[in-house]
Point group: C2
Chain length 397, copies 2
Amino acid sequence: MTPLGKHLSRTVKDLTRKAVTGALADAGLQAHQIEAALFSNTRQPMLEGQNAVRGEIALSPLGIEGIKIVNVENACASGSSAVALGAAMIRAGEAETVLVVGAEKMVFPDRTEQVMAAFRGGTDIERIEETASAMAALGASLIPADAPDAPRSFFMDIYAGIARAHMEAFGTTREQLAMAAAKNHTHAAENPNAQYRTPFTPENVLADKPVIWPLTRAMCAPVSDGAAALILQSTGAAKGNKRAVKLAGTGWTTARARAVDDWDGHLGKRAADLAYEAAGLGAADMHVAEVHDATSFAEILQIENLGLCPRGEGGPFTASGATARGGRIPVNAGGGLIAKGHPVGATGIIQIVETCRQLRGEAGSMQVEGARAGVCENGGGFLGIEEAVTLVTVLTR
Amino acid sequence: MTPLGKHLSRTVKDLTRKAVTGALADAGLQAHQIEAALFSNTRQPMLEGQNAVRGEIALSPLGIEGIKIVNVENACASGSSAVALGAAMIRAGEAETVLVVGAEKMVFPDRTEQVMAAFRGGTDIERIEETASAMAALGASLIPADAPDAPRSFFMDIYAGIARAHMEAFGTTREQLAMAAAKNHTHAAENPNAQYRTPFTPENVLADKPVIWPLTRAMCAPVSDGAAALILQSTGAAKGNKRAVKLAGTGWTTARARAVDDWDGHLGKRAADLAYEAAGLGAADMHVAEVHDATSFAEILQIENLGLCPRGEGGPFTASGATARGGRIPVNAGGGLIAKGHPVGATGIIQIVETCRQLRGEAGSMQVEGARAGVCENGGGFLGIEEAVTLVTVLTR
């Protein structure tokens, strides 16, 4: 993967080149050995006018051409969707060696309006007012009368609404959201690829700029440029590769109509249950987790969905230190989306790359000792009352 | 599939609903029986600001939710790419019953500039001047000094350049391009779903408005709204279904650097060879063909790539009447892209739907008697000297 951040002078092609050459070198493979490629990007159509064949265009300068290539989109879950489809191609016998790339260029200081519009496009634009009203109403009585707010992506309104509903339902506190955020910012200080590497205390997080109550800026993922790539192989092709990580199970599902308070019906839990079942493992078997903390509230909700703690106890579990490096089940040991960065189409792949490093014992100062199994949760878009789509991926070694 | 045309008051959701309810009814299935869905659209990001989770948004009102859904893009070949990935999911054991939908809303009379920009996004926008110059130079000496031209999508410049190169290489004539176009317009007169149903003579085609030499308007696909859906099932799930059509083989490849005059290196031929090999069949076994005639020149080139006639003889073969209904191998029996319409993300699915109707003997007045095997060629985008990606699909019954 590339370092994440604001890479004003780099293009999607540049970012792709760096991520792909790194993945090939890591795997000891040459470009001509790639039999199929899946490319994940969400922003080029609206921000650059490149609405089609993005993968073919970005990969052909690397000599990756004349093979099966397809472009996959599932909002912030595009990357893990591409991995799941790549794995299906291998299981179907379509290829033995498949490249999966996520590359995203999101930072365009001269076109803030389009950058924000591209976030809105992750939910139904025909119903955006309805969604905005529904989210604003959630836990509205909790909002202090003098709570300021700031320009933000529409997704922060969504996360803030669900966060307030969770506070009402389970007593989750703003301090707990701050603890999750501080933990991830502190984790990222060790990550050379992270966009922000400044350790935070929960007090620092609460004192940061308000975004929309209960969220402050330090609780929210930044806008990021970056790319990541990984190579999937059949069991046969990977034979003898001592560093290979096994894709043990995937759970993939989309939003469903449900009541706001039916937390156990959340698609994150449905996807987690499917992934564990496919892997023949359970939450208790996991040693590390990457969860989609587009806000630190999301981490609290998703660790519940993943079964890392009981429903409603994500806040206290976080406050206990269980999810920090050295805790019972380290979550986002590399800093998560809020500190490491969130280049939308690449994020799901980054989560898997980081987990592979953990399972290989190659995570350096971020290493979780003895990690042999990990789970990644990657959610995308918003529809009704939950993410439009979520994939949970279980990896073992 | 929906009728194709200019559906100003219909949304992608409307078009999706009509296509999907039709496909479910045709298959005798209910929405809840769909286990996975692939959605193909290329225009919503740039023309409507809906850049993500388009399938989840369009399918959830139909009760298709809480399953695996992904959005697939490969320019004009998005539809066949989605079919190929859906088939891989079934072969991988991920699902038994998969819905594939292509839906496209391209006609926005109030934003011509964006509509044209969305075509340009099908080739590398960073290199568009270079591509334009290369295309303009091809067979430039053939262009009459007084040849007029007209506002058009960038792809017409590309097709015109390759057409002139083919004329120089093989003596293909403008009259032969007109014959292919007239044949498709005449075929479409029988097609209730076609955008244009006026029979043309080759003289009518040549007398139509010039677009860019050698192309006239009647040789070029229109801008279309429309949707199509189909359902893929495993052999087990489709057992006993007397109307089932077999997906016998797929060839899928992307552009490769090659010399302009290396016609046999064209990705259309590489994809066709792969598809026939996978199906264990050859060109001589095909009874019907759907080819991607974004211009009528493309049909002449692609029937050569598909091996329906020898290299360089696409023009004379067309002039002989061999590709008309009642000819040796009817091509685009429903009118092809130029007359039936070309809603980009739906086109590859429409080709397969039309071929299924032929193989089932349900094509009405368009029926090719005794059709039991068919081939569909679907190309997308442009990169270097050829389409960015092409899929060829062989179907049998």
